[in-house]
Amino acid sequence: MIETEFNKAANSPIANPKNSLWISLKEGIQSFGKGLNLRRFYHAVGKKKFWEFIIFSVFLLFFYGPLLNTFILAFANTYQFPAVVPQEFGFQWWEFVLSQNSLVESIATSFLLAIITTVVALLVCLPSAYAIARYNFKGRKLFMFSFLLSNAFPKIGLYTAIGIIFYRFNLMGTIAGVVIIHLINSMLFMIWLPAGAFRNVHRQQEEAARDVGASPMRTFVQITLPLAAPGIAVASMYTFLGSLEEAQGTLLVGFPEINTMATSMYGVILDYPATAGAVFALILILPSILIIMLFRKHLVPTEIGKSMSGK
């Protein structure tokens, strides 16, 4: 039944101009299917390349296909079943989303929170990271694993228990309370990653600085820190983005006084149709993309992988 519906729409001479896009898409896909003789392709590029191509396609489709689709939907005014591509493009939902002043406010709050969280996390975690990297003190491993164990307790359970403390200290619904929640979420990587970075700074480089007359503090600030900066930057980026996207804890201890993009997104996803959610998703993802562009030089997959495994 649905199929005939669809054929009717597609073959109709007065085909809605809105639909022309996905008709041409359909034709495109069909002719692509015909033209792309997989076997011919296989022989043209060779076995290795062929499989590489297949793997890469599957990879892209699985990991990036859905995101791309969401991006497209963000610019759809109408997207009703069974259209593949929105029937009508436009900025209707952008207008809707951006017209709400609470949203603009929540964006500002989000960034404020993320910045504070990152700065506090740096201040609190860097010394620990340095200690882990440089000193072989008693309880070092235990200390490292305590962060792992704290990740083993269910987040919601933890937040609720923290809530009780927060009530006592009047931290409920305050920036400080939310920052603490975001902070404890980011501590694991904020310590492990910079610790890896500090470990990669050769001791000789520090000693050489001491040798030419720099005090321990100056050595740390002018030699160790800049050399570990890429790793620290990546960790900060995790913290920053993590804080931007955190919703569960913010809802539990900060809501409704503290409203962030992520908590708003919750409502939008739950209570709105796909197109509005897509706009919000895009807004939420923008900082990630910007930051990744900024840091892409330091994003070395192997290095990040190594530090994430606590090495």
Binding site: Q80, Q92, Q100, L252, G267, D271
Partner: protein, 356 residues
């Protein structure tokens, strides 16, 4: 200057469409002549976000003996009022001084309970939303609906009662239709004995409901069933009238979607305003209540969230008025189950959800 204004904080909770409408009302209040004296601030608690609900917050603050809070004014439905009183006592709310709310005189309907403590401002009810392309004659009675469900397997869905009022209304009426009408507004645990028949019905309907991946699925949240309807995966769902109307207007629901009420009807609500005793600015709160019953505010609510006006709507011009036609506030079935509601949901979770 700005500083001299008294700040009134209004606390509310619910779905996001209510938030948007309430934000508009807030802006309107601040721009009205009341705005010269008072500044209204909205604190909105999104439902389903896992955060502590408004009632718990207020009760917690009351029990903690706090007196100087910013819970100046809260929004609550008349059915919720019962549970506020049940846990917080009669004096959790301050009685309304109706002299300071002149617009109250224009009210066409009244609340079922707590008349002295709360002022109603909008109505809303659960209805059947259906795809008029495929359902030419929608069911008129509950019996017809149940028969339709069995005749059209997989084309009906209701959301889990814990996740939204539409599903909850469907479950509640399905169960309470077998019971005396007074049970709907009673918190007496004895009524639990009589739930059996209703649950048998729900169990019987279960295999005929919407399926995905080979098993029956109850979507989460009110929006979940509306999505299924929009995407033509089902043909009929129970839904809040305001949500359906609003989304048809926005174009996210196709225009083929229509609403209709059955008899006995699904439950509805009258939403009201109340002043917690521990809140501050009472004068400001009265001013806000008065404003909410003005034509301006009622118009905004009608426009933005298809709320059913409680004052004479003939002067209000809105596309939504047409769609709301036939939904009579005075005939809404009101529930007030208190903690029994939670237990009903729990029973549903335990008996219906796990069915294969």
């Amino acid at each position: 200057g700005e500083e001299s204004k008294e700040v009134v904080t209004l606390w509310a909770g619910g779905s996001d469409n209510v938030r948007i409408a309430m934000e508009s009302v807030t802006d309107a209040f601040n721009n009205s002549e009341y705005g010269d004296k008072y500044e209204l601030e909205l604190e909105y608690i999104l439902s389903g976000s896992g955060t502590q609900g408004l009632r718990d917050r207020l009760l917690a603050a009351t029990k903690a003996g706090e007196t100087e809070t910013d819970y100046d004014l809260i929004l609550l439905s008349d059915s919720e009022y019962t549970s506020y009183v049940a846990e917080g006592g009669e004096d959790i709310l301050t009685p309304v001084d109706f002299d300071k709310v002149p617009n109250a005189a224009r009210l066409k309907s009244s609340v079922a309970v707590g008349e002295d403590y709360i002022v109603p401002y909008r109505g809303t009810t659960v209805v059947l939303a259906y795809n008029s392309d495929t359902v030419l004659t929608p069911p008129q009675t509950s019996e017809e609906l149940y028969q339709w469900i069995k005749d059209n397997p997989g084309r009906f869905a209701y959301n889990t009662p814990g996740s939204g009022g539409a599903g909850s209304a469907f479950v509640t009426t399905s169960v309470y239709n077998f019971m005396p009408e007074e049970a709907l507004t009673s918190q007496d645990a004895a009524w639990k004995e009589e739930w059996t028949q209703g649950f048998e019905l729900l169990e019987e309907l279960h295999p005929h409901l919407y399926q995905s991946g080979g098993s029956v699925v109850y979507p989460n949240k009110n929006q979940g069933t509306l999505d299924l309807l929009a995407n033509q995966e089902v043909d009929i769902v129970p839904a809040w009238a305001d949500m359906v109307i609003q989304q048809i207007g926005q174009g996210t629901l196709p225009e083929s979607i229509k609403i209709s009420q059955i008899t006995p009807s699904f439950t509805g609500n009258i939403d009201a305003m109340g002043m917690p005793a521990i809140g501050g600015d009472k004068d400001g709160a009265h001013a806000v209540m008065d404003f909410m019953l003005s034509e301006e505010a009622q118009g905004i609510l009608l426009d933005e969230m298809a709320a059913i006006p409680l004052i004479d709507a003939s002067n209000l011009e809105s596309e939504n008025s047409v769609l709301l036609e036939g939904l009579d506030v005075s005939s809404f079935r009101v529930t007030s189950l208190g903690t029994l509601g939670t237990e009903l949901n729990e029973k549903w979770d335990q008996e219906i959800a796990p069915l294969q």
